[in-house]
């Protein structure tokens, strides 16, 4: 069991190294003189600016850990939740709406209600493909993609008709009580953006880990993911399991949306015809973390780390596009961690064989 964990870790690490080498090649192509210092900056990542950079990294990591959990959880139950983006957007909207309008709530619980609302919003958006899959066997990938667009346009419409600030072409600010408490973390890391969102994400990581590995419910969900026929034979309600998987996945992504827009960081929902990238980054995070909740936590933090490092590249006059390409390349290679896992496993086997034959 321990060996397996080490294997998983080394596979992910190798994937990351490959991504970095690829990033270096891109740096060399665009600006050879600055390439090595550039790589240095990427590697320094979140540590470059001391505590504040570290805090910023955690802030960036929080929402993608949640979407990563969403995708990874669904994947463990045999579903490919490509709809995390739409669920994320729906969750964010509900959270912001509650944050702006339900000011009658006491501030201690205002943000909690907003989070719960986000979970419901995301869950509903996951439920639709879940039900279609369970009862009509509609491929969840297709229905999820459609739900992404429906979610995006619906939210755009609702923002404009309900909570729009036309001067700044974004949503109105949420009331102070709806912002997630900072609990001193902002001072500790001297980063205004950081709040207990990252801790909430960690709590969900642990919860999902327990749910998948330790409970009868997780046992059923996994069984459905691996063999639907045998699950049905064993009396597990496959339809319910499929729908529930998507509901939980959707809720996780939805909470991710809330954590991002209730951070009090000056980030507002805007009316753009763009699917939120956090949902898709969740897929990379889940792949890099090999769908293991703990792995996803670290994968999310890593991507936050790289993103901060990438942003610092601007000091060396690298264009923001180049930075995005490098980050994407690293994430892309991260997605190959499964391949690396396979390769490493083979390598170990071979060396073992040779050792034995000597």
């Amino acid at each position: 069991m321990k060996k397996q964990g080490l294997l998983n870790f080394s596979a992910s690490a190798l994937a990351v190294i490959c991504g970095l080498v690829f990033g270096l090649v891109i740096l060399l192509c665009t600006n050879p003189a600055q390439a090595l210092p550039g790589l240095g900056i990427i590697l320094k990542g979140g540590f470059a600016d001391g505590m504040s950079g570290f805090g910023y990294m955690l802030y960036i990591a929080t929402p993608i850990i949640m979407t990563g959990l969403s995708v990874g959880f669904a994947f463990r139950t045999g579903l490919f939740n490509i709809g995390a983006s739409g669920q994320f957007t729906m969750g964010a909207f509900v959270a912001v709406y509650i944050g702006i309008n339900w000011t009658w709530l006491p501030p201690q619980i205002h943000w909690i209600v907003a989070l719960l609302g986000a979970a419901v919003g995301g869950a509903v958006w996951g439920l639709v493909p879940g039900i279609l899959k369970a009862f009509r066997n509609v491929n969840e990938v297709i229905s999820c993609i459609m739900m992404n667009y429906i979610g995006m346009y619906l939210v755009n419409h609702m923002i404009q008709s309900l909570i729009y600030d036309p001067l700044r072409s974004q949503t109105q600010p949420v009331s102070a009580g709806a912002n997630i408490p900072k609990a001193g973390l902002d001072q500790l890391f001297s980063s205004n953006n950081l709040n207990i969102g990252i801790l909430i994400a960690v709590v969900f990581v642990v919860l999902i880990y327990i749910l998948i590995e330790k409970t009868t419910f997780g046992f059923e969900l996994k069984a459905c993911g691996m063999n639907r026929n045998a699950s049905k034979y064993a009396g597990i309600s496959v339809k319910k399991s499929l729908a529930m998987s998507m509901v939980i996945a959707g809720a996780l992504a939805g909470i991710g949306g809330a954590l991002m827009y209730l951070a009090g960081s000056g980030k507002y929902m805007q009316v753009l015809d763009v699917l939120s990238p956090e949902g898709f980054n969740g897929i990379s995070v889940a792949l890099l973390g090999l769908s293991n909740p703990i792995g996803i936590l670290f994968a999310g933090i890593f991507i936050g780390y790289i993103t901060v490092g990438g942003n610092n590249l601007q000091l060396l006059n690298f264009g923001p596009e180049i930075i995005d390409i490098i980050i994407a390349a690293i994430i892309y290679c991260g997605a190959f961690s499964l391949l690396f896992k396979h390769l490493i496993g083979k390598l170990i086997k071979r060396t073992k064989k040779e050792e034995e034959s000597v």
Binding site: K214, T215, T216, F217, F219, K222, A223, M226, N227, N229, A230, S231, K232, Y233, A234, G235, I236, S237, K353, E356, S357
Partner: protein, 506 residues
């Protein structure tokens, strides 16, 4: 005497476990050489060594007297070794022709050129009377035909040594007979065959010599003509085996399972796959549903257990109507189901053995507390079953089910189903692909259920099993029960007539 292939003193270890321990297999040209052994005796490992999938720790392989090194299946193929696997490796939406040339496509300027391949395949098919349509889709042809496609694939590659891995496990009696004819014709033309099986009748029928393995060890090679079936089975199992299970006479009690006017209509064709079937299974009775595969037996069982919806009829357990109950509910009420397809229904292959052993009971109080699985209790229970039912695997309770041998997978299912102390056991082809030792074991378990006053409903395509195990035989033909007889009142020939639909006595 020159051998086509020799595997001398092969030893293959997995950790501390010796899957093959000093095994020697020598095949002469033009012979059918049977490889006999129980599940887990090391037959598959030995063949994997031959195919270069495993590298042995010790031993050598010679072909025509020359030592060779086989690192991968392609190398084996180039040396003229081909194999028909137990589970066919065919692409279902390919045509027969495409499946055969797959991997060896003839190409002209980058485009497929199938004409020559087609000619060769048609010629081969005619020579061996395969009656195969090269343009039929794999998914549309019968299992027997699919097997012929696999054989054609080997012949198409001009393989000299053909390995058949339990080829008869999936065939009907008629198909088995035809396969035997084909095998004999193949060796007459100079091919050599390794025939992996544990059906002694078949070895007797076609094989020249037979090598016996037991628990990874080489027991011996014998001339089939000089050895009796009993002798071979003793070599294989290491003790005397009862071919006919021992059964005490028993008078059946109250009905346990009552099926009334059960009808299942096909969604696609609109025809009744199961047509107005009524019967009872009583306490202390093994009722066997005989018939040729595809006459509605599978659907009948799936309908009874709830895997597929029924169109009409009533199912009662101990007098209680359970027609509309869920599968879980039926299971709690006392249904046990040993399914036909153990990979599709019986097991979650990527779960460990212990997880599979509690697949039907993980929700019970003893295995969970407030929704949390009690891994300690599950492990103890699994250990207990492993011991009681002698389930063998590499890592005990934590072995992944996928890596276990077929016989031990089946034992795991049987252990799980019977240990729940069910009222009725519905078993479909429970001994399919098992060796004599395991068959004896499964049958004795079913008979024990009966002797304890439980009811057993057994679906079987093998007449020996039908005659030996059952107390009452129902014959199904085209979705109807055409005969309800007792085994002592009927001959195998007569059963054959009922199964073919030419005679009725319901």
């Amino acid at each position: 005497m020159e051998y086509v292939i020799e595997m001398n003193h092969i030893t293959k270890e997995f950790g501390n476990f010796k899957a093959n321990d000093d095994i020697t297999l020598q095949v002469k040209k033009g012979e059918i050489h049977a490889l006999l052994g129980e599940n887990g005796a090391g037959k598959s490992t030995l063949m994997s060594v031959l195919f270069g999938l495993y590298r042995p720790e010790k031993g050598e392989i010679k072909i025509h007297g020359r030592p060779v090194k086989i690192d991968n299946p392609n190398a084996a193929n180039e040396l003229g070794i081909g194999m028909v696997h137990q589970h066919f490796k065919l692409v279902h939406n390919f045509t027969v022709l495409e499946s055969i040339v797959l991997g060896r496509e003839t190409v002209k300027r980058g485009f497929l050129n199938m004409d020559e391949a087609r000619k060769k395949i048609v010629a081969l098919s005619e020579r061996y009377k395969f009656q195969i349509d090269p343009d039929a889709l794999i998914s549309d042809i019968t299992v027997g035909m699919q097997q012929r496609v696999e054989i054609l694939k080997m012949l198409y590659c001009d393989n000299e040594l053909l390995i058949f891995d339990e080829p008869t496990a999936v065939l009907t009696p008629q198909e088995i007979e035809e396969l035997m004819k084909i095998m004999v014709q193949l060796v007459q033309e100079g091919k050599s065959i390794i025939f992996i099986t544990h059906k002694l009748n078949e070895i007797k029928a076609v094989a020249n010599r037979c090598t016996v393995l037991r628990k990874g060890k080489y027991i011996g090679t014998i001339e089939v003509a000089d050895t009796s079936k009993e002798g071979m089975s003793e070599m294989m199992v290491g003790r005397k085996v009862n071919f006919v299970p021992e059964k005490k006479a028993q008078t059946p009690g109250d009905p346990v399972l009552e099926v009334e006017h059960l009808t299942i209509r096909s969604k696609h064709t609109g025809k009744n796959i199961v047509a107005d079937v009524s019967f009872q299974v009583k306490r202390g009775e093994i009722v066997c549903i005989a018939g040729i595969d595809g006459n509605g037996q599978s659907e009948l069982v799936s309908g009874i257990t709830g895997l597929i919806p029924i169109t009409g009829g009533k199912i009662s357990l101990n007098g209680k109507d359970v027609t509309k109950e869920s599968i879980r509910r039926k299971c709690i009420e006392g249904f046990a189901h040993i399914p036909e397809d153990r990979h599709k229904y019986g097991l979650v292959l990527d779960y460990s053995l212990q997880e599979n052993l509690v697949l039907q009971s993980y929700y019970e109080k003893r295995f969970q507390k407030h929704g949390f699985l009690q891994f300690g209790a599950i492990r103890d229970y699994a250990q207990d079953l492993i011991q009681k039912f002698d389930i063998r695997s590499a890592h005990g309770a934590t072995s992944v089910a996928r890596g276990m041998s077929g016989g031990n997978q089946q034992k795991a299912i049987i252990a799980r189903e019977l240990d729940r102390n069910p009222e009725i056991v519905v078993a479909v082809q429970p001994v399919r692909g098992l060796d004599v030792g395991a068959i004896e074991y499964v049958h004795s378990q079913l008979i024990r259920q009966r002797d304890e006053g439980k009811a057993v409903l057994l679906v079987s395509f093998e007449l020996d099993e039908v005659m030996d195990v059952s107390d009452r035989i129902l014959v199904m033909f085209e979705g109807e029960i055409v005969a309800d007889v007792r085994p002592e009142d009927v001959t195998i020939q007569e059963l054959g007539l009922y199964m073919a639909g030419t005679k009725r006595r319901a």
